[in-house]
């Protein structure tokens, strides 16, 4: 008789029932009592799962499970439950391991979906933790070879590059330094890109990230008129914002940006405007940051990300900080659930993004689209993995003039596949995490190839929370989740 063994999955509870998150398929199933009992029997009888005496040899065979559960379920129910769990590969036969997931590279040429253009590498703020200028920077933006501002000709070449490499729809994101320091080029680029996209019968949309210090009425009006998506980097109320987000003379920036943001939110109604918060060990009060940004300033959405840094910086988030952060994320996520369950908007964007990935059953070979559907462009027109690597020779992938260096791209993809991240091979959260940010890994470990092991516990904790919310919503408001399908259908309709 063949022994049953567990395969990879993560169990979670929501809405009073048991759910199963399967790895690597990323499928979510709700269990009934019989399947839950079978899984429990197989898991607890599996060798190595306990440190106590070895189980009876027959305990984990189909017969053994039927016997174990004899008092609770009739035989046919247990056998049917075992059959279904085998079918979805939650369990398998011990001596027949599943074939490893094929190590497939994406089909090439992969269409470029988003191009992030660093229109300048200069900034009027001097945020202590900045990955571009702080102690962990990759590219010498002060004395390096790259121009400080992107020339208009380079910007127009970049647009041609994007429209050549993109599919039917292209996204152009302006980034910096402080993006608005080069507003003239941004303005002419948008006009040019619109005209060229129309000529080529493609759709293009625009977005930018800014620290909000340079938002003037005419700029705001331009952004609103052109439906430019805006993300504001801001860390929260005055005391938190002014801790790190300071001018070169050390003065805090809150009082400068707050009125400008209010004005932007008042005038620019054509796209939802989000805040992007960098969390540090000193600014981990997520709920109060969220309240301030949504209720007092009026942001539609707020996204949080822990600061990217080497571990020896004082503001780096340590293990205890991650625990605290997780607790606060969970509290805010619970609030998100209560809002969404009754069809009320809630702007905690981290949850929404993860819910969408869970809903689709995303199982990633790569942590993000960098080097694939997303590329960064430096001020001199060098193409890089993403905006965080723009200008770094070591991470160059061509130029906007010569196109993508396909050899470098394939080489990168070959060396960063999840199948090569041995540390991740036993983690149930890998379909969503896939090792985490390349840039973060580069700063921590000196190579983009390493997974970000310093935040594994946090990722698993947060993924578990999002799965629970997903499970709750599947019971309480499935209509909310169905919206993800409709949005995708809409997006596909224009392709």
């Amino acid at each position: 008789m063949m022994a049953l063994a567990r395969r990879e999955f993560h169990l979670f509870q929501a809405a009073g029932r048991d759910f199963l998150y399967l790895v690597p398929s990323a499928a979510v199933f709700a269990l009934d009592e019989a399947t839950a009992a079978v899984l429990n029997a197989v898991t607890s009888a599996a060798p190595g799962s306990t440190r106590q005496a070895a189980p009876e040899p027959s305990a984990c065979t189909e017969e053994g499970v039927v016997q174990t559960l004899a008092g609770r379920f009739d035989e046919s129910t247990v056998r049917a439950a075992i059959g279904e769990l085998l079918d979805v590969r939650a369990i398998g036969y011990e001596h027949q391991p599943d074939a490893p997931v094929p190590r497939m590279l994406p089909m090439m040429p992969f269409p470029l979906n988003t191009m992030v253009m660093n229109v300048t590498n200069q900034c009027n703020l001097a945020c202590t933790y900045c990955y571009e200028y702080g102690e962990d920077k990759i590219v010498d933006t002060e004395n390096g070879q790259q121009s400080k501002f992107m020339a208009e000709s380079t910007a127009l070449d970049s647009v041609e590059f994007l429209l050549k490499e993109s599919g039917r729809v292209a996204h152009l994101t302006f980034f910096g330094g402080e993006t608005l320091l080069n507003f003239p080029v941004l303005k002419s680029t948008i006009a040019y890109a619109r005209r060229r996209a129309a000529e080529l019968d493609k759709e293009i949309d625009f977005s930018l990230t800014t620290n909000a210090t340079l938002l003037r009425p005419d700029i705001i009006e331009f952004l609103a008129e052109n439906r430019v998506g805006v993300t504001i980097s801001i860390d929260g109320p005055r005391d938190m914002q002014d801790k790190f987000r300071v001018f070169h003379n050390g003065a805090g920036s809150y009082d400068v940006v707050a009125p400008k943001i209010k004005e932007l939110l008042r005038v620019h109604r054509s796209r939802p405007i989000g805040a992007r918060v960098t969390l540090t060990s000193d600014t981990l009060d997520i709920t109060s940051i969220y309240r301030h940004l949504t209720e007092e300033l009026g942001f539609w959405e707020v996204g949080f990300a822990p600061v990217t840094t080497s571990p020896n910086q004082k503001y780096a988030i340590g293990d205890r900080g991650f625990d605290k952060m997780l607790g606060q994320f969970r509290a805010l996520a619970a609030e998100f659930l209560e809002h969404v369950a009754v069809n009320k908007h809630h702007g905690f964007s981290n949850v929404k993004d993860t819910l969408e990935e869970i809903h689709k059953g995303v199982s990633k070979a790569y942590p993000c689209g960098a080097g694939l559907g997303l590329l960064g462009v430096s001020t001199d027109g060098d193409v890089a993995l993403c905006h965080r690597f723009a200008g770094s020779d070591a991470h160059k992938m061509g130029t906007v003039k010569d196109g993508i260096d396909r050899e470098a791209q394939v080489d990168f993809l070959q060396h960063h596949h999840i199948a090569d991240k041995t540390d991740c091979s036993t983690c149930w959260a890998r379909p969503l995490c896939s090792g985490g940010c390349y840039h973060e890994a580069h700063v921590r470990y000196g190579t983009t190839q390493r997974p970000n092991l310093h935040y594994c516990e946090w990722i698993r904790g947060w993924t578990d929370t999002c799965l629970q919310i997903y499970g709750e919503l599947s019971e309480r408001n499935p209509e909310f989740l169905a919206r993800f399908d409709r949005e995708e259908a809409k997006a596909e309709a224009v392709l």
């Binding site: 398929s25 499928a27 199933f29 709700a30 279904e84 809903h359």
Partner: protein, 112 residues
């Protein structure tokens, strides 16, 4: 599935896949119900022995009536039992420049 309930989209695809796997094996001579049937290499071109089309006989075209023939060896995935042209009968098709005209010249080869 009665005990497991698919919740997300991927789970739905897993269920579909499982159902697909459980379908009965369909014999090749049965015309597939859904997709258009193009017997490539068998009746779209002239191939001696395969002239009938999908509804005209020879039971689905992938099972030779008497034996594997010329086109099994040239254009089909079928591991044809035709003379071993690589080693023993290099000239088997030598007199058959055009199958349409010369198919009668394809002779039998006896193991020797």
């Amino acid at each position: 599935m009665t005990h497991l309930k698919a919740i997300n989209r991927k789970a739905g695809r897993v269920v579909e896949h499982v159902a697909e796997q459980k379908k009965d094996v369909v014999a090749l001579q049965r015309v597939p119900q859904l997709a258009p049937h193009f017997p490539l290499g068998c009746s779209l071109v002239f191939s001696p022995g395969w002239e009938a089309d999908q509804n005209g006989g020879t039971a689905g075209l992938c099972q030779p009536v008497e034996r594997d023939i010329f086109d099994c060896h040239i254009g089909c995935f079928w591991p044809a039992q035709v003379p071993d042209q690589l080693n023993h009968a290099p000239d088997w098709t030598g007199k058959c420049a055009s199958a349409q005209k010369d198919w009668r010249k394809l002779d039998l080869v006896f193991p020797g």
